[in-house]
């Protein structure tokens, strides 16, 4: 060992011995700080998830106190028994709804953000009005929309009637029930999408637009080749958060349609709820919830992977 290396090691040795102890103490403190939150999460989030898997292997009917383990019986019912058609139908409905909500949030959000991007009091007031529905309770607005969309006494059909359109059974026809739920959703979410996009658009440097203008780009080209790529991280954020929240849609369906008519709005969470609290088949509800959990996890992971390749991060 050379002298210099001896010196180095002599100089660093005490620091190396001291630093880990200090750091581990700091880490311990950090851990203690987050421990209450972790305990809370474990009791109210992780333990129920683990228990859900456990329940899915039992025959627990909520109305009974006793249950026994039945192996994969509930999964057999779901994948090879009478549960399969409902699972496929319910997934289809849930994905249709999710597609609708994502489209409304993204397209509606961009459109409104472009429309209301000007800075003056009138536009500020309009932005507030468009955003406000987001803060009205879903159940409250769903009750109001149930009346607006009522086939016989609803104001929407009345207004359409003035234009010569025949009454539409919004909530009682399987062709229109999901659209009706999406009308309420659209009313609630476009304002939120608008606000997020507005902040993203304002963070784009005006120099890009000026340069593009000098190069002869028209408004559409500037929007297509500057705005859209530069707000793509926001689009990804909205896509992922809307995907996860819309896959879990429940309240509006519960209030407006009860999963009907003829199960045409029987989204996954509503089906799980019905299995557990109407039919009391907690065992089957747990199996469906576990499968749905895995589906959500897979799709979210897939979305992140695909979007990471296509999202433009300016930095």
């Amino acid at each position: 060992m050379s002298n210099s290396s001896k010196l180095k090691s002599a100089g660093t040795k005490p620091a190396r011995a001291h630093e880990p102890r200090y750091r581990s103490l700091e880490k311990g403190k950090d851990f203690l700080c987050v421990l209450p939150a972790l305990i809370f999460f474990f009791i109210f989030v992780y333990y129920p998830i683990l228990d859900l898997f456990n329940i899915s292997f039992t025959n627990w009917n909520l109305i009974r106190d006793d249950y026994k383990y039945v192996g994969i019986k509930n999964y057999k019912w779901l994948f090879t028994g009478s549960g399969l058609p409902t699972l496929l139908k319910s997934l289809k409905i849930t994905f249709s709804y999710t597609f609708g909500e994502i489209a409304l949030t993204l397209v509606g959000g961009i459109a409104l953000a472009t429309l209301f991007s000007k800075e003056n009091r009138a536009y500020s007031a309009m932005r507030t009005i468009v955003f406000m529905p987001k803060y009205i309770a879903v159940a409250t607005s769903a009750v109001v929309f149930s009346w607006i969309l009522d086939g016989q006494y609803g104001i929407l059909n009345y207004a359409l009637g003035l234009l010569g359109v025949a009454p539409i059974s919004w909530l009682t026809s399987e062709k229109t029930a999901l659209i009706s739920v999406l009308i309420l959703t659209g009313w609630r979410v476009v304002g939120y999408g608008m606000l997020i996009y507005l902040s993203a658009m304002r963070s784009i440097s005006p120099q890009y637009y000026e340069a593009a203008k000098l190069d002869g780009a028209n408004a559409w080209q500037r929007f297509r080749f500057i705005t859209i790529p530069l707000i793509s991280p926001t689009t990804l954020f909205l896509f992922v958060t809307t995907f996860i929240s819309s896959m879990k849609v429940f309240q509006s369906v519960d209030v407006m349609t009860n999963g009907g008519p003829y199960e045409s709005t029987n989204v996954m969470v509503y089906w799980i709820y019905e299995l557990a609290f109407v039919q009391f088949r907690v065992d089957r509800a747990a199996a469906v919830a576990c499968v749905f959990f895995v589906i959500l996890l897979l799709f979210t992971g897939l979305t992140m992977k695909v979007s990471n390749k296509n999202v433009y991060y300016e930095s």
């Binding site: 009478s82 149930s146 009522d150 909530l171 009907g260 003829y262 609290f277 009391f280």
Partner: protein
Amino acid sequence: MNKLLRNALAVASLLSVALCGASAQASKYEVKKPIKIQWWHAMESQYTPLIEKVVADFEKENPNIDVEAIYQGSYADLNQKLIAAQAAGTNLPALTVANTPYVAQYGESGLCENLDPYIKATKYDVNDFGTGLRLASSYSGKQVALPFLISTQIMFYNKDMADAEHIKLPSTWAEMDAFLAKATKSEGGKTTRYGTVFPGWDQWYYEPFYLNNGVNIVNKDNATTDLGGAKAVAIAKQLKGWCDKGEAYWAFGKEGSTTMRQNFIDGKAFSVIHTSSLYNMYVTNCKFKVGMAYLPGGTTRNSEIGGCVLLIPAKNSQDVKNAAWKFLTYLTGKKVNMLWARETGYMPTRNSVTKTQEGKDFLAQKPAFKAVFDNIDHIYPRIQHPAYSALSKIWMNEMAKVIIEGGDVQSSMQNAAKLINEALED
């Protein structure tokens, strides 16, 4: 003499032991110390003053018992809350109402206290209820509940219109065609007044049409249905035919009930099929005289029991159950029963009322109820099967779909039967 005295003493001691035993049994169910109990119910805000009065009167008679009456939403909401409390084993009510179809499920699972020992020990006159009512609140031979607010399916009609236009209400299924043709009005091919409205949001309302025409909704094997059979298909075709012709409509969806009521109140429907418990609501809101007609029959002319029973969750402590029993007997007592009947649209449930002067007085006050009183022996308990809720949902959906959206009735009913058989077997 000694022998006679000895025998007399033996008999006397036996009697005293028996009497002591009986009083010990009775005292087992007595409320000995002050207690606060909860009563869950599903009666909406218009009944709050009545509930408050009944509870106050009870507390006055029983100062040891403090009752907290809690409205828990609809029967379905209450059912969910009760099951959740039962699963958690906490916050169970001392006493609760339950919609009649839940009795089998609750009884089978052991949720309800067996009331037989209470009835025996306190000499409660359970036989004063009609046989049908007793059966509707019992499971497997045990009295697990007692009848409380009882109703049945009925046809409400516009009596002023019936009198003015000489419309005869149908007593048989075969008379329905003529009745609907006369009761319906149309202009330019568009219906301006429906002959009747079928409540398609709950199969309970049209179940009697099938039962009275010989359809076994659940066969004796408890695992199959006849709903895909020729008789059931024929009835479904008739129902669809009347709706297609515009003589009736199929009320469906979450607002189906509200819209149906409004149509009747507005005179846009001559009649509606609904629960007799809504008599007061119709009378209060209609500007015309409201009549009640018993549903038309086929080979039989029966209807089914609706409304709710009262039960005590078995997981409660004995002290709570004793207080609940005391309150239950008060609520189902003759005096309170008549109060419910007068103030709501529910029926008197006791033979000592329906078959006495009190019954006549009630009919004088609510003459439309004659249709129910005349047929009280033909009101039977609902079908009791653990898979009944699954069955009713499948049936309700298929009926609504084929009638409202269109399609082939036969294949629709057969599809319903296939799904129901799976549910029953499951």
